[in-house]
Symmetry: C2
């Protein structure tokens, strides 16, 4: 008997028929003898509907008072889901009880609309599990010290599920979603893309943050921090497939790195075409210059991704970084009017038509030649590399966006990702 957490996304909860299927699947797991905690999202479209109503009425600008009300409203989507799922489980003959975030309670700070989990009290949930009940907990939401309802931000139900699994030391947290696992790259670009049976947390972090939008990145960080075994699998398999088969399906995100280190080095190819590149040419090479450039950008709440500064020549250097494409115009304005003059940069250049392609894999740095194999594969396709950035488990290049699909396909092939690992 294991303690298992299931998480179901909005699509899986999208209609009463689908909720009934979720209930049948959970009932199967409960009948197999497992203690079950289930964390559903709001029915698909519901959160947008609710926030749409709020938007029609809201004053312009933002405030804590307004955000508090948005959380009051948005949290009802999951509250309806847990009630409906508990009822559907009861109809399957399974004892079930639902809880909101504040009932658990799942304690957070007071950052409405993007609260952080601080602690989870699991005594009530444990008592129900011991009594043989399935416990259904509303994702995406919590409660602050003053008993105000908070939400964790978009995709927060993943984080809720992982945090609950961590707090309760669950044996595994299964994230049911509309894809059947994590792939070596996007199958829409590379038809040969292969589902990974396992991936390390670090690789998953890179894959998630680089645009494989399967899991909210905070949930992966949480799983890594608390070493929660996490599995991504499809909610569209028939509910009555064999439970042992289901338990091995999808992709396991594992914290057991050791054996992986010896295996194939590159696990997947990630990409992101939402970025734009900005360069300051002829910046004086002196202490504090990076802060002078990035300080005002960060103050404007613009997130920065890759940063490159090369060695200087004759006391001048070039400084490049990437931002989200939506922030490109504002960033250019800041640089031209504020930063450029202050840093005496000779010129500000920008290019929104770029993309970032990365090879991701544990132990990459310890394997000589991985990066050079990447650069050779790109060069053979005539693709010019504009920026390079590396970390322990990934090597990223910024290239012209028109070459993105070509680059992904070439790299997928170069690293034999279409072939099963030995």
């Amino acid at each position: 008997m294991a303690l298992i957490v299931h998480k179901y996304g909005g699509t899986s909860m999208g209609s009463t028929d689908r909720i009934r299927n979720v209930a049948k699947r959970v009932a199967k797991w409960a009948r197999a003898g497992h203690q079950m905690v289930v964390v559903p999202s709001a029915m698909s479209g519901e959160t947008n509907r609710l926030l749409g109503l709020a938007k029609e009425l809201a004053p312009s600008g933002s405030s804590a008072a307004l955000n508090r009300e948005l959380d009051m409203i948005a949290s009802t989507g999951e509250q309806v889901s847990v009630g409906l799922l508990a009822i559907a489980l009861q109809a399957e003959g399974v004892e079930a009880v639902s809880y909101t975030g504040w009932q658990v309670p799942l304690n957070t700070d007071s950052s409405y609309t993007k609260a952080r989990i601080e602690s989870i009290e699991d005594s009530r949930v444990r008592a129900d599990l011991a009594a043989g009940k399935v416990v259904v907990i509303a994702g995406f939401q919590g409660v602050d010290d003053e008993m105000n309802i908070t939400t964790l931000g978009r995709g927060g139900s993943d984080t809720s599920a992982v945090a609950i699994a961590a707090a309760m030391k669950a044996d595994e947290c299964l994230i049911y979603t509309d894809v059947d696992g994590v792939y070596t790259t996007d199958p829409r670009i590379v038809p040969d893309a292969r589902r990974l049976h396992t991936i390390s947390f670090e690789e998953m972090l890179e894959m998630a943050s680089l645009g494989s939008k399967i899991l909210q990145i905070r949930s992966v960080e949480f799983a890594g921090k608390y070493r929660v075994p996490l599995r991504v699998l499809s909610s569209f398999t028939p509910w009555d497939i064999d439970i042992n088969e289901e338990a091995k399906s999808g992709t396991l995100i594992s914290f057991e790195e050791d054996e992986k280190m010896e295996q194939a080095v590159v696990s997947g190819i990630a990409f992101n075409r939402d970025e734009a590149k900005v360069t300051l040419l002829g910046v004086p090479d002196k202490p504090g210059i990076a802060f002078q450039i990035l300080g005002p950008v960060a103050e404007a709440n613009i997130d920065i991704d890759v940063i490159i500064q090369n060695v200087s020549q004759e006391g001048k250097t070039d400084f490049s970084f990437t931002v989200h494409r939506n922030d490109f115009a504002r960033t250019m304005e800041l640089l031209e009017n504020v930063v450029g003059p202050a840093t005496q940069a000779a010129k500000v250049q920008g290019d929104p038509k770029i993309c970032k392609v990365s090879i991701v894999g544990i132990g990459m740095r310890s394997h000589v030649g991985v990066a050079s194999k990447m650069f050779r594969a790109l060069s053979e396709e005539g693709i010019n590399i504009q920026m390079i950035s590396t970390s322990e488990i990934k090597t990223s290049v910024v290239i012209d966006e028109k070459y993105m699909e070509l680059a992904v396909r070439a790299l997928h092939k170069a690293f034999d990702l279409d072939k099963n690992p030995a």
Copy 2:
């Protein structure tokens, strides 16, 4: 400066435009210097939508576990309303904060779907009012000792508003609804029907329970018990009408009876065509017979309204009572198969085509001739009276339903209800 509670029904909250109007009206009252607590219902149709989803999934039969989930689901309708109204108030430049039932908290027993209010802790609300905020509280819902969400049953938002007004000793509780007050009878039947400027609690109780579905009867009981001045008024007047005019509009339900006692005796004509009549003929006239008849009916959860037992002749009597028309078939079955044989009744007769018409007025019993005036008016129209029942403040007759409109019009005229009181 007064402490005022406003309650808005589902129709008044039915769209973002209407919510904006509610916000403008409340803002007007707040700007006039009043401390404002507002209790809105769910947006019209929302509670039915939510319970419809639940019904699609629910197991057959009823249970506390199921009812707990229904409350979890249904309570979200009001939770969305309070958030939206608080946001709309903020957009009007008024500081506003919303609370669910559990946040106040409004404590109830654990009778899910029909919980009773036990206590209200108002310190948090008082602190907000003192800080100049409008406080928006979700109607219809509360929380039990175990922190489970409960609801008060249909129309429970009226009860919430009155209970909050009582707990906070509000100066007045204004119930905004889709009618502009309490009338001497239904204007659709008697075009001359006149709006009452004031009505006593006792009269309002009779008017409400007899089918003038303006206020949930429990809210009127509550208002009477805690002596909360209650006003029913229209939410369809323009929001910007003069506040002094608005404050005197509608019908005030008052607990100051004394002066009323001296005035016109009959305040209104109530009627109800949802009843059916059942009679057992030739019942042995011996102790315990009423219980033998009504015990099994009550056990089947069938509510009984009027009960009549006349003096016996030759050791036999006739026993009649009325039930809701929906319960008529089941009641007849019970009587024929269970009760009739046990009581040796000679015959069971039933008639679903009846109606009850009542004259309602404080101090009726102390005024000779009121009942006889009623019977004469009906007799002049050739209407046969099947049953008569009286109380301190009403006299009801059961008649053939086809005469209902005629009887109501005749009585309205006989008691001069179309004329303003002197």
